[in-house]
Assembly symmetry: C2
Homo-oligomer: 421 residues x 2
């Protein structure tokens, strides 16, 4: 354990030093390196796939679920898409150096608020191997150093990807300590890492709720959380019910296992008798398990619906399941969403101007929609290019977290001898 | 202890509810209320001064230093200035509702990134009673609920101010739970508070390093830190030495006990023989205790200078003391500042274009100056109006933290039936 402690501190110190030097990197050079990274991943795909096979064999031995196996698996097509993601990042504009504001004070001081890198970012994740190359690409583009800690089930694939990308830095005479991967499985290393607030500026945990809670409760470093998405569609009394049905089906079924999928459907009592039987029939036919309030059960007779508990309304199913509730008013819908939701993405379907504005104003979520599927909460769909994740925090970054959100700012002040009187 | 635990949770819940309702408050109403708060403070100054006398008597019994007594004392003039600060906040423009960006996606989705309040903000402070009214004014202006916990030495003054301002909300039919003050001295209440991440969105500790470290290590709520200011002036080889002397004297002497005062002076070796004897003589004559490197001692013969230790370069004196170091190059100065400083405010004095740009780019501090005193790091001096403090964090807010920094954003998305394919 002593040895690990030592090495994680050394890794963090080297990463900090590399981050300081990275302020000299031009956007041109960074984009050239990103293109080379993309090329190198593709050239060395045979090696990556070989290493991925090791992870897959072990996973099969450990009897990991089919869905998990599929997420772990890499083939030519998936490596091409990882490679393309790096090329896409190269083509986005560099936020570093952007002047957010500039103004002149009466005494002649000229103040610039300028985007700069955050410094050293640690990312702890449990997801697919493509997260490794995405995070490296996004952090490098923004001149941040990154320390990655991936899930043990993908360790061989992750190391292969990391080594290929890091070697492109060496080839370009850039300090390779900008890219770091924790190869040891020792869990105490993460505990040590979370204490290194002198060297690491930000921790982003991506994974299950347990992982995130653990990081939050023990970190001295600021954390940006990517918690669950308990997303709602509220069908207002003034809704176009055809549109509402399309949005509901899309929000749940287009990809049920993601954080921006709908988990909970709220329906105004005045349209419930017309909307619920037709819409829930479609969900039932699509093999969606439905849990509803007593009124929902009554209205949707013939469709098997379990009685929803309060816990159902607080649950992110990430599966072919939904909870349904009939509400008396827009106010009740808003209060339900603010109380039971996770402040991620919520939609109202309505043709009424005032209902739309009230919902937009009062729902306290990262993304609040009128007449659109919650599935649009995504860096790519918002037009931000690649994303590091979707923040459910309110501080620093909220919603899709892309290049700009990986920067901070500093004030550059140009004087000509001013002193304070 | 049970009872306190209960009450702090109830306070936080009520504050959260009030914050949700405050989204309905118009800027006009808020500004009217702020003007009434200012008026009410002034009208009730006799009561405030009477309560302040209780704090002063107790402080004298406890043999608190003269400087502390002076910070604690309220008179007509100081109450007028607190009142004026509230009027100033009323005249600033409301950041809530400001559209930071808006764009249309190819599918017709119209995305708005809009400033919204953070929600519930807890402020734990040890400072003067005016902080109470400043924080209440700034949080109310930005539609945030606030939970205040002030220092025990100012408890009577703080409660008087808090009660006066809160009663203005009642008079205007605004939920008074937007403004909260923890009156109990029980320290376990703060420990409880720091666990209430379901109700409180942000904690701002303002005070000594120990207080801040304690909050950071035990909080589950995001913290924005206002750490110490170890600020530097670097006198470059290309400096105008007259200007350098004026800036150094101002940065240290204009108000030595504040966080943006200079603590450490770095001088390029080529100008040290000309600059150090003259400048340090002035500091000596102003009763400043000087600690310097061996070369400084040698150059400034005749002026008593203690040998500086590494600890001196890491110390925020907040007093008539400075540390001095002769450096070989701009690079050494930058590395010293990034290593020993506190990333607060640092200045280069130079006439050389490249030195200026290099310093601005590579010094990793909230405010980086060319040819100006570090004393300008201040919300008022930057033209932001009142400030809640000066953040030494990199996440969310960096440098002077004013109204905009008390907001977050959400995405409001206007659709017309879009679903994801």
């Amino acid at each position: 354990m002593k040895k690990n402690t030592f090495s994680i501190i050394e890794m963090a110190k080297a990463a900090q030093k590399a981050a300081q030097n990275s302020l000299r990197l031009s956007s041109q050079l960074k984009d050239k390196v990103l293109q080379e990274m993309a090329e190198s991943l593709w050239q060395k795909r045979t090696h990556i796939i070989k290493e991925n096979q090791k992870d897959l064999s072990l996973a099969q031995k450990n009897k990991i679920s089919k869905a998990m196996l599929d997420r772990l698996m890499l083939d030519d097509k998936r490596i091409q898409s990882m490679s393309q993601a790096l090329r896409d990042i190269a083509t986005l504009s560099d936020p570093v150096g952007q002047v957010l504001k500039a103004w002149c004070r009466p005494n002649g001081l000229w103040i610039h608020k300028v985007r700069v890198p955050i410094g050293v970012i640690a990312i702890i994740y449990e997801a697919r191997p493509n997260v490794t190359s995405d995070c490296i690409g996004l952090c490098f583009k923004t001149s941040n150093s990154v320390i990655l800690r991936g899930g043990s089930e993908a360790i061989n694939s992750n190391i292969a990807i990391y080594e290929i990308l890091r070697s492109v830095l060496v080839k370009n005479n850039i300090d390779p300590a900008m890219i770091n991967f924790i190869t040891t499985g020792d869990r105490s290393v993460v505990d040590e890492l979370l204490k290194l607030n002198d060297y690491i500026d930000l921790v982003i945990p991506r994974g299950g709720e347990e992982l995130i809670k653990k990081v939050v409760s023990s970190s001295r470093i600021p954390v940006i959380k990517h918690y669950k998405g308990i997303c709602h569609v509220y069908v207002d009394e003034w809704a176009d019910l055809n549109m509402a049905e399309k949005i509901c089906l899309n929000a749940k079924l287009q990809r049920p296992a993601v954080c921006n999928a709908m988990e909970s459907l709220l329906v105004h009592q005045d349209v419930a008798p017309r909307f619920i039987p037709l819409c829930l029939k479609k969900f039932y036919e699509a093999n969606v398990e439905i849990r509803g309030c007593a009124l929902t059960q009554k209205i949707a007779k013939g469709i098997p619906i379990k009685l929803a508990t309060e816990q159902d309304y607080r649950t992110e199913y990430l599966d072919l399941k939904i909870s349904v509730k009939v509400v008396k008013s827009l106010e009740e819908a808003i209060e339900h969403i603010n109380t039971f939701g996770s402040h991620h993405s919520d939609t109202i379907v309505t043709e009424n101007y005032n209902s739309a504005l009230e919902f937009l104003r009062l729902v306290d979520s990262a993304c609040v929609y009128v007449n659109a599927s919650t599935r649009f909460t995504d860096g790519g769909q918002f037009g931000m290019g690649a994303e590091i994740g979707i923040s459910t925090d309110k501080l620093h970054a909220r919603g899709p977290m892309a290049l700009e959100e990986l920067t901070t700012y500093k004030y550059m002040v140009f004087g000509s001898g001013q002193v304070r009187s």
